[in-house]
């Protein structure tokens, strides 16, 4: 694995370099102790078209103790939620399953506080919140628990997903009958449509 190259300021190269970075840009040198960039830049494949396995999310986001990273916090919370939903999925007793689901609901405000890590993350957490609110205390059915589990797991693996990707995951929740929009929003939209119609008349 070759080194991270730098774009250090480029002084006259008569003598040594301002930054001895062993890199390979115009003002710098590449280390002769590591592999050449040409080989590193080849995209790793295994088999005909398979990509090399991507990094695990926990390795990518390993943190030093005492971190204040929102991403690290969000991944911890998503792991808790995912574990609770796994338990809920495997429960035969609906009341026990609901207890695990309620734990997920309780953790949502803390996840909401991490919404700045990505637009997709924000839209999914919002939608789950409104899905619970619109159920008004009614328990999730098995299909809904499964869908929620899949979405939470996927969000944990791809926490920086785009808004579009987030909306696609929210659609998966809606397909199981979950209402993910705020109740007031629907009446607002209907009211606005009626006003538009009256205006046209």
């Amino acid at each position: 694995m070759s080194d991270t190259e730098t774009s250090a300021p480029k002084p006259s190269l008569d003598g040594l370099l301002l930054v001895p970075d062993e890199a390979g840009t115009a003002g710098t040198k590449r280390s002769d102790s590591t592999a050449t960039s040409a080989r590193d830049l080849v995209f790793k494949t295994s088999g005909a078209t398979a990509l090399a396995p991507v990094i695990s999310i926990d390795r990518l986001w390993e943190a030093a103790p005492g971190t204040t990273s929102q991403m690290v916090r969000a991944l911890e919370l998503l792991k808790e939620a995912s574990d609770n939903l796994t338990q809920a999925k495997s429960c035969n007793d609906p009341r026990t399953a609901d207890r695990f689901v309620q734990r997920v609901q309780v953790g949502l405000p803390r996840l909401f506080a991490c919404r700045s890590i990505g637009d997709g993350f924000g839209v999914i957490v919002n939608s789950i919140h409104f899905a619970f609110a619109n159920l008004q205390g009614a328990p999730l059915n098995q299909d809904q628990i499964n869908a929620l589990w899949r979405v939470v797991r996927e969000l944990r693996n791809k926490p920086a997903m785009t808004l579009q990707q987030g909306i696609e995951r929210v659609s998966q929740l809606e397909e199981t009958g979950l209402e993910v929009d705020p109740a007031d929003l629907e009446s607002l939209v209907e009211g606005s449509a009626e006003e538009d119609e009256q205006g046209l008349r």
Partner: protein
């Protein structure tokens, strides 16, 4: 005993490599225009189809067919560097349709100046648990002047270099015909360089990576690990 606080940042760079992004031939102008909204004084310093370098008050940028790089000024705060990285990489990868990152590297170079080169060598030789025992090697009976350590597994890697050296800075900005008229800037600096490169080995999907969060966190990790090494 040396501490990482004895060193000053010389440069900090984040470089992301990816599969060849051929859209670079069409969209470099778009990238620069988009970056100008955030880095308002950005200007192109050199341009060719597969590589463009530009510069602003915030740092030096490079986009290549298979990589993008941002190097910031030594006095840039880590949280600001993280913000600049987020804007630069998100803008570039959106334009180039990059979805998978083959290597993300964060390189932090620090320097501790000393009066003489000998003093820097002594400081290096005095590091507990790092310096090899003094012995005649290759018919040279002197302490090592450079040490390099690499740790790597299938997902993450890091290289740490420690080097006692003299760095000569020469800056000549005038064209050749005016160089007699214009004062050159020259300086020789002795010291110990601590060069840490933290990087990913396994590919990273873009939707796994938030540049602002990652850079800020790994800057902390690098500092903490460097301190651990120096303290032995």
């Amino acid at each position: 005993m040396l501490s990482v606080n004895d060193f000053k940042t010389a440069s900090v760079t984040c470089e992301v490599r990816h599969r060849e992004a051929y859209l670079i031939y069409d969209r470099t102008g778009h990238i620069v225009e988009n970056l100008r909204e955030f880095f308002t004084d950005i200007s192109v310093t050199s341009a060719s189809p597969p590589q463009t370098d530009f510069r602003s008050n915030e740092g030096n940028f490079t986009i290549l067919l298979g990589a993008s790089r941002l190097t910031c000024q030594p006095n840039t705060k880590p949280e600001n560097f993280a913000k600049y990285c987020a804007y630069f990489f998100n803008t570039t990868f959106d334009q180039l349709n990059v979805a998978v990152l083959t290597r993300i590297g964060l390189r932090h170079i620090l320097r501790r100046e000393s009066k003489t080169l000998e003093e820097a060598k002594e400081a290096l030789a005095s590091l507990p648990s790092l310096s090899p025992k003094l012995a005649k090697r290759f018919n040279i009976l002197r302490p090592a002047t450079e040490m390099m350590f690499r740790w790597e597994d299938a997902e993450i890697g890091a290289v740490v270099r420690l080097r006692a050296e003299t760095v000569e800075i020469k800056v000549t900005t005038a064209p050749p015909e005016l160089q007699e008229e214009v004062r050159k800037f020259e300086k020789r600096v002795h010291g110990l360089t601590l060069d840490i490169d933290y990087y990913t080995v396994a590919p990273v999907e873009r939707d796994q990576w938030n540049p602002e969060e990652w850079v800020a966190e790994k800057m902390r990790v690098i500092r903490k690990e460097a301190e651990g090494m120096l303290q032995g």
